[in-house]
Symmetry: C2
Subunit: 313 residues, 2 copies
Amino acid sequence: MSVLAVGTVAFDDIETPFGKRDKELGGSATYITLAARFMSSDVKLVAVVGDDFPDEYIDVLRSRGIDLEGLEVERDGQTFAWGGKYHYDLNNRDTLFTDLNVLSSFDPVLPESYQASRIVCLGNLDPSVQESVMKQVDDPAMVLCDTMNYWIEHTPDSLKDLLGKIDCLVINDSEARELSGVPNLVLAARRIRSMGPEILIIKKGEHGALMFAGETVFSVPAFPLENIQDPTGAGDAFMGGFAGHLSGCRDINLDALKRALVYGSVVASYSVEQFGPEGLYDLTRSEIEGRIDAFRDLTTIPMSSIESIDSSS
Amino acid sequence: MSVLAVGTVAFDDIETPFGKRDKELGGSATYITLAARFMSSDVKLVAVVGDDFPDEYIDVLRSRGIDLEGLEVERDGQTFAWGGKYHYDLNNRDTLFTDLNVLSSFDPVLPESYQASRIVCLGNLDPSVQESVMKQVDDPAMVLCDTMNYWIEHTPDSLKDLLGKIDCLVINDSEARELSGVPNLVLAARRIRSMGPEILIIKKGEHGALMFAGETVFSVPAFPLENIQDPTGAGDAFMGGFAGHLSGCRDINLDALKRALVYGSVVASYSVEQFGPEGLYDLTRSEIEGRIDAFRDLTTIPMSSIESIDSSS
């Protein structure tokens, strides 16, 4: 099944304790599509850039099979740009600047070939733009949505309107606490799901993610890594891996959702090992499957054995 | 097999967003022993209190089968007291006071009946006291040790001396970063294990725990709870549950260690649902086993099924 991702394609200035890059290829749509393409041969991107956007970056996406018919290039426009600096433990970052540029007037019109997309990823954007894209898809099997504190604070009405229409919200723990107004994540999940989304995924950075679906809670850790260069885009790569796996499932049932969460976590783990999205450039499906196996070893609880000699109660 | 725990037995003044208690029964040895007793019928406590310590609290421990021959009552002494206030999300707390009192001259001498203990838990204390207790046990199958930032900063030499002699260190993530001097937990684990302990468990509060043993990394989440009243003692209850499970295993192999980590997490989850150690008072082994089953549902990754229709590489 096809995966459609709307979001940003951007210039990122990134500084981490391990290096510094200017005008790195970035943006939520970039990471989502580069991550989804390992599990789906039909990945479509919707975004806008200015005519300052280099062909070299277009080629990064096109050469990896991403459908770019929905990438609008605005004449005389400047590409959206973001700068951030990470603290020493990589768990916190300061945003240095955000230049919306062409994003401020982004009003996407989907190519006709996009309208039959099955899995829709609404990357972090103005909720009204996210809703507009969703409405242009005929009959999606699943709509996933990200958001951020800015929209929770500044456009609460259009965000709440959107939440009533999507299937799955994917946000981080601080956003879940802010959106719900409660610090306990289990209670926060209940309150957020009462706003609409049947499925809620709470991302916790280096601590993994929690998924709430039906009566089920499912937990995945982040894959333990010795070498983390740059966490930028990890949450988007996670969403892309999650969506990619679902696109290959006949039924999107609970088991499929659980496995998708593991794929999301594994693809994100490869993304953070290099700067920008470079960790996703030459990655292979078999490398992903190898880390999926390692992930099982990391989390599988052995059954009790006959070795138990004492079971006092 | 028997479990011996040395640590504090204390008066705790606790304030959380959900209530306030003065002179609550507390201390690391209290939580460790109350948690271990569900999996072991032979749990021995080593600690000191003043003669201001009420019989009522002694009875809490004795009536639950804890061997108190090693609990010293110092005449005219004041019991160790600690006060803490938790922030709204329960992840951070301020220590309001720490009155060492009888703890400042604590020099435990083990009763003869304690010397054959098999699993030894060195609760957070001066490392030289921890080492003195360890040396009085003849041939333990396993020595577990907790510590805290204070000892890392103030008694680094005696801590390092101790680390060379124990089997398993159990500390939280900020302590692991401070002890190793590196922010990445995988690298921190490698460095700490090179100081001695073959097994390292890093506790991450609401995010669960990581265990490093041999070439293996194993991850458990915290059990998701709607109702957390008081996180005090959770790390000690975790250690007690971990030690308790190991005490029932004929071989302390990797599978046993993994299961023990789950028992630790589950017993800790019951502890935080009530104030002080009260969540451990009337808990039953069958309630623990029920939550162990729920824990498997929370973490078990379903195998791939035939439903996959797309596996492009």
